[in-house]
């Protein structure tokens, strides 16, 4: 995944700032020479004229089918022979052999206890249900009388825990422990259910942990509910390149990204808890992917205290989340038609909600061609949420790295200066001000971000920021903090241009799903 690169403020540059403002010293290598070509703020140099004004999500909007959250694909087990296979701890080898010759519509029942595997459980059949005795509790690497734990600690390198391609797949009531790669990967499947499942790695803050916990990808009609995901080195709960997904009543903690909705169309993210991650609950599109994400409803989630240092943020990384500053509650990048309502944000040290252009990670619009030039963010409706406060007061926990986490470094640089001008920290909602690329600055809200009826801490000043990041970042990278800060804009919650009622047509995803 591309690196954020709209600014390459050098460590030396930031150190100057750091020295002046007594921030934590940055720890980058001293040999990062200033870029002779000046700051790389070449975000989409030729995208301006082609970019839609952003107040809608394209010429036609399809709000999707009235999905009730259940099976909606073609494959069904009704009227077919149903087979059940029962296994107990100690029968791992027999289980593996049978898993590779399953007939369709087989239920595999795993008795309570601990199962130890040396390879992935690879399922390539339709209509398979895998059910244990319970997911156990956080920290439990062994099964008990009422839990089934699948242990992959000594499994083959690169292997997933469950690796599934099959329609009508259900996994429930078990835990996957220490998978080498992804704990539960379900790919190219229709009608997928993950229920009361826990994915966990034993060690916290370990970059070598598997990347994803619950990982449905390139799939359709996905339901994740009552699940838990801990210590993933990328995302605990990830829904990617998928159409129609529900993630609800689940818990994601101690991951780099708690819950991640990527290149996905029609997602309903309801009633989850994302705490103690580097970033809590994120929505974005990546370049080069054919699914243009849209119609994402994020409702009644708790997204607080996501301040875990980014443990995937190591040198020579190409992943997106490895570049996210600690303390980012929610960010949306290259996303459109996103509704955020009934959620609670608070104590996210960098920012509660950020809206970013895809050009910040891949400035070449041509590389967004697969998804229909889906780099711009637009139509973000933030209403009826609670902002508890305590956020935006310690960007990236003060642990800044322009190379590894440039967004955090730039935010810190700007707001460190801003504090000297009376800013009280990063606002609850930050927009990078990039889309539509090259828009007139007289346009206050050209991408239709609506921020209404949210509960804010008493005494809140400005709530919304437009960072004009390309221009401001360029100045900051040259050491001109005053000039950079002067380009940014800061608005109170009642700023008229952001007092709007969402977008048309409104989302329907979730309307037919029973709580």
């Amino acid at each position: 995944m591309p690196r954020l690169q709209w600014t390459r403020a050098t460590c030396a540059t930031l150190l100057a700032l750091v020295g002046a403002l007594s921030l934590t010293a940055c720890s980058d290598d001293e040999d990062n020479k200033p870029d002779p070509g000046g700051p790389k703020v070449d975000a989409g140099t030729d995208a301006g004229t082609e970019t839609d004004a952003g107040t809608d999500a394209g010429p036609t909007v399809d709000t999707g089918i009235p999905w009730d959250g259940g099976s909606a694909g073609d494959f069904s087990c009704e009227g077919k022979t149903q087979t059940t296979l029962n296994f107990a701890p100690g029968q791992e080898e027999a289980l593996q052999d049978q898993v590779n010759t399953l007939v369709e519509c087989t239920t595999i029942t795993l008795a309570p206890g601990t199962y130890t595997f040396d390879n992935a459980i690879t399922i390539r059949q339709n209509g398979i249900t895998l059910v244990g005795a319970g997911k156990g509790a956080k920290g439990e690497g062994t099964g008990g009388a009422q839990s089934t734990v699948l242990v992959f600690t000594n499994a083959a390198a690169n292997s997933n825990g469950l690796d599934v391609v099959g329609n009508r797949f259900t996994v429930s009531d078990l835990a996957v422990w220490n998978a080498k790669k992804d704990a539960i990967r379900v790919e190219s499947s229709t009608d997928v259910v993950m229920r009361r499942v826990r994915t966990e790695w034993e060690k916290a803050d370990n970059e070598k942990n598997g990347k994803y916990g619950l990982y449905p990808v390139k799939s359709k009609y996905v339901l994740i509910e009552d699940c838990e995901a801990y210590n993933a080195a990328d995302a605990g709960i990830y829904v990617g390149q998928t159409q129609y997904a529900v993630v609800r009543n689940s818990v994601a903690k101690q991951n780099v990204a708690g819950i991640e909705i990527e290149n996905t169309q029609y997602a309903y993210v309801l009633g989850n808890t994302a705490q103690d991650n580097t970033t809590g609950l994120v929505v974005f599109d990546l370049p080069g992917n054919p699914i243009r994400g849209s119609d994402i409803r994020v409702k009644n989630n708790i997204i607080t205290g996501n301040n875990r240092n980014n443990f995937a943020s190591v040198a020579a990384s190409s992943s997106t989340v490895s570049q996210v500053p600690a303390g980012t509650g929610t960010f949306m990048l290259a996303s459109r038609r996103v509704e955020l309502t009934g959620n609670t944000w608070g104590n996210n040290n960098t920012v509660d909600v950020a809206v970013l252009s895809g050009l910040t990670i891949e400035p070449n619009p041509a590389l967004w061609a697969a998804g229909g030039l889906n780099f711009a963010s637009a139509d973000v409706y933030v209403h009826g949420n609670t902002f508890q406060g305590g956020s935006g007061d310690s960007v990236d926990n003060g642990n800044l790295s322009p190379q590894l986490r440039p967004l955090g470094a730039a935010l810190a640089a700007l707001y460190a200066y801003g504090e000297t001008k009376g800013s009280l920290g990063v606002e609850h909602l930050v927009w990078d001000g990039v889309d539509p690329y090259g828009h007139e600055r007289t346009q206050v809200n050209p991408i239709n971000i609506c921020f209404v009826e949210n509960t804010l801490p008493s005494g809140t000043g400005n709530v919304i920021a437009d960072l004009d990041l390309v221009a401001a970042g360029a100045l900051v990278a040259k050491g001109n903090f005053a000039g950079g800060w002067a380009l940014t804009r800061h608005y109170p919650a009642d700023k008229a241009e952001f007092n709007c009622a969402g977008f048309t047509p409104a989302l329907t995803i979730g309307d037919n799903i029973q709580p």
Binding site: L95, Q96, A157, N158, S318
Partner: protein
């Protein structure tokens, strides 16, 4: 002269190739008696003039090949590693590849069985078009010391690709410690392996026999409907166009198959494609050798019809002419954290090239290929490093 890295093949004791032509079906394991009725047109000329191709492929599709619980049930071999050699029966043709896939330094032997009355059709680029009923075997073994490749050889597994009427299937068989029989292990197995390499260093690792379903991770092409369809990988003309010893006589493998009336449409030798031995510096340019290595080791997934290729848009097939999709200054789709750099290939700088890094590392989650490798291929990663470093240096943006 015996250089397993350059040209791995099973030791003589194991394969006993010179005995292959003498082998008849083991009376205790009748299985199929592959071609008792097939004329062995052992025409030394290499032409296929004696074959009645018009009368092949004419019959209706066979019933499915039954999958036995023991490898011996196929009747493809006589003997066993324990009694001096696993000997292919007549009609089960041993072959080697000019550059093989690396599999943890395992030495491999391969056989191709095409049923009587059937014939494979030549393909210039794709795998040979093999008829229903074809069986391909690949046997993986480790000598205790790669410097003494024919001593203390332990055979781990034999994989059988079966061309059923419904398509290809892959079945793994794992050899018992006594080396007398291999048993179907559809779930795959894990085996502790130790060997001494050519430098005298000891490698101890957990060798993973893939499960049946995992075979498809490499052995597939995505069809027009988006479904993965299983395919063989190695049996391509460019890798097969090389000599082997049959009946004590050296001959080209493709011509040998044609002479057996098992391959039609074979063009004249001058028109045959040839992939070099990637580690024979005399055989081809560095670029060609590196591209050959990537083709056989990576391109079964990293091609425009492989799932990983489709996802990553990184195409390492030898005939990909786009330097960008070959990885030059290409940002990866989802290579993850800590993979050496930001671009798949930074010309002139292998150390910052993700392609090299992921081939070189032994770290789970970062290493490539996804399965089939636990330890790194020193010679292979050096080849790719040399290749990248030989490119005119370039700064990627």
């Amino acid at each position: 002269m015996w250089t397993p890295f350059v040209n791995p093949r099973l030791p003589v004791v194991l394969l006993a190739l010179s005995l292959a032509a003498c082998g008849s079906s083991d009376p205790e394991n009748p299985g199929r008696t592959p071609d008792s009725g097939t004329p062995v047109s052992d025409a030394g000329t290499g032409d296929a003039g004696g074959c009645d191709f018009d009368n092949m492929d004419g019959g209706s599709l066979d019933a499915s090949v039954p999958i036995p619980n023991a490898l011996s049930g196929f009747g493809l071999f006589t003997g066993s590693p324990a009694d001096g050699g696993l000997v292919p029966v007549e009609g089960n043709v041993p072959y080697t590849l000019s550059t093989p896939l690396f599999s943890d330094y395992a030495v491999k032997s391969r056989t191709l069985y095409i049923p009587p009355g059937r014939v494979a059709h030549y393909e210039p680029v794709a795998a040979l078009d093999l008829p229903v009923g074809t069986l391909i075997t690949k046997t993986f073994a480790f000598p205790a010391d790669l410097r003494k490749p024919d001593q203390d050889v332990r055979v781990i597994e034999t994989r059988v690709l079966v061309h059923q009427p419904s398509g290809w299937e892959a079945w793994p068989y794992v050899w018992n410690p006594e080396q007398t029989e291999a048993t179907l292990a559809t779930g795959g197995r894990s085996r502790d392996v130790t060997f001494v390499d050519l430098e005298g260093s000891t490698h101890a690792f957990k060798y993973s026999v893939p499960s049946k379903n995992q075979c498809q991770q490499c052995h597939h092409l995505v069809d027009d409907a988006g479904a993965q369809v299983m395919h063989p990988i190695g049996v391509k003309a460019r890798y097969l166009h090389r000599t082997n010893t049959y009946d004590g006589v050296e001959r080209d493998q493709l011509e040998h198959l044609a002479a057996l009336c098992k391959l039609d449409g074979l063009p004249a030798p001058a028109q045959l494609p040839k992939a070099p031995d990637a580690f024979d510096t005399q055989a081809a340019s560095l670029d060609t050798r590196a591209r050959t290595y990537l083709d056989i080791n990576c391109a079964h997934c990293h091609n425009p019809k492989g799932t990983a290729g489709i996802t990553s848009q990184l195409f390492l097939n030898f005939d990909n002419a786009s330097v960008f999709s070959l990885g030059e200054c290409k940002r990866p789709g989802s290579a993850g954290a800590g993979v050496g750099g930001e671009f798949d290939i930074v010309p002139g700088n292998h150390a910052e090239s993700i392609l090299w890094y992921r081939m070189h590392t032994e770290e789970s989650g970062k290493m490539m290929p996804q399965i089939g490798r636990t330890i790194h291929h020193a010679e292979g990663s050096q080849l790719i490093a040399d290749w990248i470093d030989s490119m005119p240096a370039k700064t990627c943006k």
